[in-house]
Structures are given as C-alpha cells and as structure tokens.
C-alpha cells in the first residue's frame, strides 16, 4: 500500500467513524420547572434552560409533547409557554446542529398541569 492509498483509507475511515465522535460533549438542562412538577394552567408558565451546545450543536429547540414550539438561539434563558391543557405534558430541550438535526444532547421532563 503506497502513501496515497494509506491517506485515502485513513480519510475514509475518519469520515465513516465521524458520526460517533463528539456526541457526548455539551449539555442541555431544564432548570425550571422541575421534573414531575405540577403547574397551574392559569399561571404564566416559563421553561428556563441552560444549554452548552458542544462541538456539533448550533442552537436548541423546545418541544412540548414532541412538537417543536420554539427555537432557542440563546444558550441560557427562558421561554413563555402557551397555555397547556390539563394533564401530563412532556417538555424537552434538544441541542440541534445548523441543519436543525438533534445532536443527541437533550433533557426531557414531564409536568402535570392542573
């Protein structure tokens, strides 16, 4: 195997292996409400978050019951939720890349609205 073939092979290996690199860096934390909290449906309810994008992230998305409801362009802040119906709801903050693909860094909590 000559040097050119070796470099090409090495490059291809890196390209194929790249999906598994760097996924674990960064963090997404929902600082408020707490997981399992009970919210008053008549109150203004905010989701506060703190995100570190990591090497592959660009911004974050907020989801309520798996539906994207907001684009979070600041790494730390809060978002005022629209009125939620009574019952259990899933809230998730996910770091996404420039193409809006979740990078795997996320936190999801469940709240109950009364």
């Amino acid at each position: 195997m000559n040097a050119r073939h070796f470099i090409t092979t090495l490059g291809l290996m890196f390209f194929v292996a790249a999906p598994s690199l760097g996924l674990a860096q960064g963090k997404a934390v929902i600082t408020s409400p707490a997981d399992g909290a009970t919210l008053d449906g008549m109150d203004e309810n905010r989701v506060a978050y703190d995100v570190v994008y990591g090497p592959r992230g660009d911004h974050a998305h907020l989801y309520v019951d798996n539906k994207e409801v907001a684009i979070l362009r600041k790494p730390k802040g809060s978002y005022l939720l629209e009125t939620l119906s009574s019952g259990k709801h899933d809230l998730c903050v996910k770091v996404v890349n420039k193409a809006h693909v979740p990078t795997g860094i996320e936190q999801c909590i469940q709240v109950t609205v009364k």
């Binding site: 790249a18 994207e68 684009i71 890349n97 193409a99 809006h100 693909v101 990078t103």
Partner: protein, 136 residues
Amino acid sequence: MSPENLAYALTQVVHNFGAVAVLGGAVFTLWPTPRLEFGRTFGWLILVAWAAQLASGGVFGLVSYHYYGETPDLSSVAMTALVVKIVAAFSGVLLCALFLLRGRSWQPEGVKRSFQGLTVLGVVALTAAAFLRWFS
C-alpha cells in the same frame, strides 16, 4: 475541518448555484431584453438546476441521517416552507421538460409565459427557503 460540515457545505454549494440558475436563468431569458431565441439553452440550464435543487435537498437529509441517524426537526412553518419548495421544484422540472419537449412549436408568447412561470416558481422557492432557514 469536520467532515460533517464539509459534507453540508459542499451540498450547500450545489444548492446555492442551483438557486441562482433557476431564477437567474429564467429572468435573464426575459429581462432586460427578451432572449427567447436562446430559450432551449436556458431551458436545459434551468431543468438541470431544478434537478440539482431536488437532489441536493435530498442529500441534506441523507447527510443528517448519516451523521445523526435522523433527519432535521422542522417546525410547522418550516415544514410548510419545505413542501412549497418541493412542489415548486417538481413544477419547475415539469414545466422545463414540457417546454423542451414541445416548445419548438409554441408561439413566442407561449415561450415567454413559460419563462414567466419559471421565474415565479424560482421566486416562490427562494422565498420559501428563507422561511425554512429561519423558522426551523
């Protein structure tokens, strides 16, 4: 240089030049001076450009799938914009193909209307692209 970003960037190059060609080609055929006699040449250019738009759009999804195992998460506004773009692209391909297959027998007014239609499709697609970019 991250191979992921390189893959997205190279795909974006094709997508950007495709966008220039679909709109620029149609506009240049009509304005500032009509160049309908070169309609077939521009028709081929615009056909290839729309095909490149469709292909590179699909490749964006494939790159995401390769690196993350899923396609982009789009809001309802962004998803609507994406559908508008896809419909515009397929309409552009169909209109170009129709013109290239049958346009020889068309009157100049019909050729002009075809390129006006292609211009509108280009404007619609580029407008939708902006909403897709910023509402995701």
